[in-house]
């Protein structure tokens, strides 16, 4: 146990970096994912095709491959990063965006067609239909899965630790190597900090799910 308390500053630094990676990638992924979802339901075939291919490929790519590409292959191709955090954020956000796109799309599609038809038939224009009818309903279906995706993002950011970014997992690994006699304590400490993020988010997800549940 002493190992954990002695290295608390390191844990804290790693925790903050994990938080930073997750937050930045999360915001980028939310924006990118929503754009992809919009492209996916758009009437323009080219955008639809692009979004479909992107989501299909990225969803089926192991995260480690995405990281390997961003952190090891890209620099070889002449894309140099000042910090490896940038590579980690690229990998995490492009990967997560595919899942967000799917969640948002299925949320929009879960709104019955009759809702939009009724709105149009009373004379609403496209913007009104979207803002007043579709999005408020879609949001309820979308938010709980989005929180689950963000939980997964926090956990996935641990892969960055293996690609030259010193976040929680990276420090955990370093400490485990330095303290061969207390590996279990060191890694349990790391796990504790992850749970500090994932468990509250999980509770939030199930609370929101119960709160916004609608019977259709």
């Amino acid at each position: 146990m002493d190992v954990i308390f002695e290295n608390l500053p390191l844990y804290w630094e790693g925790f903050l970096r994990t938080l930073f990676l997750s937050a930045v990638s999360g915001v980028i992924a939310l924006v990118l994912g929503t754009l992809l979802a919009a492209a996916r339901v758009s009437p323009v075939a080219a955008l639809r095709g692009f979004s479909m291919v992107y989501v299909e490929v990225l969803r089926n790519t192991p995260l480690t491959i995405a990281f390997f590409f961003a952190a090891i292959v890209l620099p070889r191709l002449g894309v140099k990063f000042e910090q490896f955090e940038v590579a980690a954020i690229i990998a995490l956000s492009t990967y997560t965006a595919a899942f967000i796109a799917e969640a948002v799309r299925s949320g929009v599609n879960s709104v019955p067609v009759g809702q939009a038809e009724a709105a149009r038939s009373i004379g609403m224009n496209f913007g009104q239909v979207l803002n007043l009818i579709i999005l408020p309903q879609a949001l309820r279906t979308v938010v709980p899965p989005l929180i689950n995706i963000l939980i997964a993002l926090v956990k996935n950011s641990s892969v960055a630790g293996a690609f030259f970014v010193l976040e929680l997992f990276g420090y955990g690994r370093q400490l485990a190597n330095a303290n061969g006699d207390a590996v279990i304590a060191v890694l349990l400490g790391t796990a504790f900090f992850y749970l500090l993020l994932t468990v509250p988010l999980g509770i939030l997800a199930s609370t929101v799910e119960r709160k916004v549940a609608i019977a259709r």
Binding site: A46, F50, L63, F69, E102, N109, V183
Partner: protein, 279 residues
């Protein structure tokens, strides 16, 4: 493509969509061309770099890596599923003394990064990388399977269990004979989708030095020279993605088949309700 958002397009709208499609395609083609040009400037398309794929040993190494990936995934899946089933039964047990501890354990397992579990087993118990990868995958995925099956059981009409108990089945028998078969059937798409996640997660073995496909890429690039990194990586990534897409397609196919059969009388799962797999 029918969407909630749009009316059926008239001639004018169709013309606009067509123009949009052409402009969009040009943009995407331009982007692709730019990527290809940039890669070409790096000399990626020199035949010399791709000639290594005429060598048998390169394919042997890739094959070994793929074999390691698939065997870890297969073994983990075969152990994780029954374990998940047991955990699910314990999780919904009538006895609070069983239910609550199991719930805590499941939350713990689901809240931790898989790679941390692998490292924990590798260093904490001094096992081989293979055992570490398989155990990490089993622990995490059995917890997820348990949650998926539980969601399936809870989505059944209450009457199913009540009827089972009313005709004199014990609680356990009602679970095994009435609820589980329906729940598993309902959740089949989610379960197969989770298999894809499991397969993808074997690539985390790279981090704990398990000789899977990505590790094979790294080893070959170190051994043959870094100019071959991109070709080898490209082929390995393509193999990975192709396999995953194949398994995902099976999930979609099962889902379609399931919903067609459901019309015939088996309890029907709500559409779009099947929990989307999480990265």
């Amino acid at each position: 493509m029918s969407s909630v958002l749009y009316d059926v397009p008239g001639p004018k709208a169709r013309r606009i969509y067509l123009i949009g499609s052409i402009v969009g395609s040009l943009l995407i083609l331009g982007l692709l061309a730019w990527i290809v040009m940039t890669l070409a400037q790096q000399g990626i398309f020199e035949g010399r770099r791709w000639q290594i794929f005429t060598r048998a040993d390169v394919w042997t190494l890739l094959g070994n890596g793929l074999g390691a990936t698939l065997s870890a995934a297969a073994i983990a899946a075969v152990i994780a599923f029954p374990l998940g089933l047991v955990l699910c039964l314990l999780r919904i047990s009538d006895a609070a003394a069983i239910r609550i501890p199991v719930r805590v354990v499941l939350e713990f397992l689901r809240g931790m990064p898989v790679v941390l579990m692998m490292l924990f087993i590798l260093l904490g118990f001094g096992t081989s990388p293979f055992i570490a990868v398989v155990t990490g995958l089993v622990l995490y995925n059995s917890a997820v399977f348990a949650e998926i099956i539980r969601a399936g059981i809870q989505s059944l009409p209450r009457g199913q269990r009540e009827a089972g108990l009313a005709i004199g089945l014990t609680s356990f028998k009602s679970r095994m004979l009435i609820e589980l078969p329906q729940a598993i059937r309902r959740m089949m798409p989610s379960l197969v989708a989770q298999m894809v996640v499991l397969l993808k997660d074997t690539s985390l073995g790279y981090i704990v030095a398990y000789g899977e496909l990505l590790r094979a890429v790294q080893v070959m690039a170190d051994f043959l020279g870094t100019q071959f990194l991109f070709p080898i990586f490209f082929v390995a990534a393509a193999i990975y993605i192709a396999i995953n897409i194949l398994v995902s397609r099976i999930a979609v196919w099962i889902e379609r088949r399931g919903s067609r059969k459901a019309a015939g009388g088996v309890a029907k799962a709500e559409p779009e309700k099947a929990n989307a797999p999480v990265p």
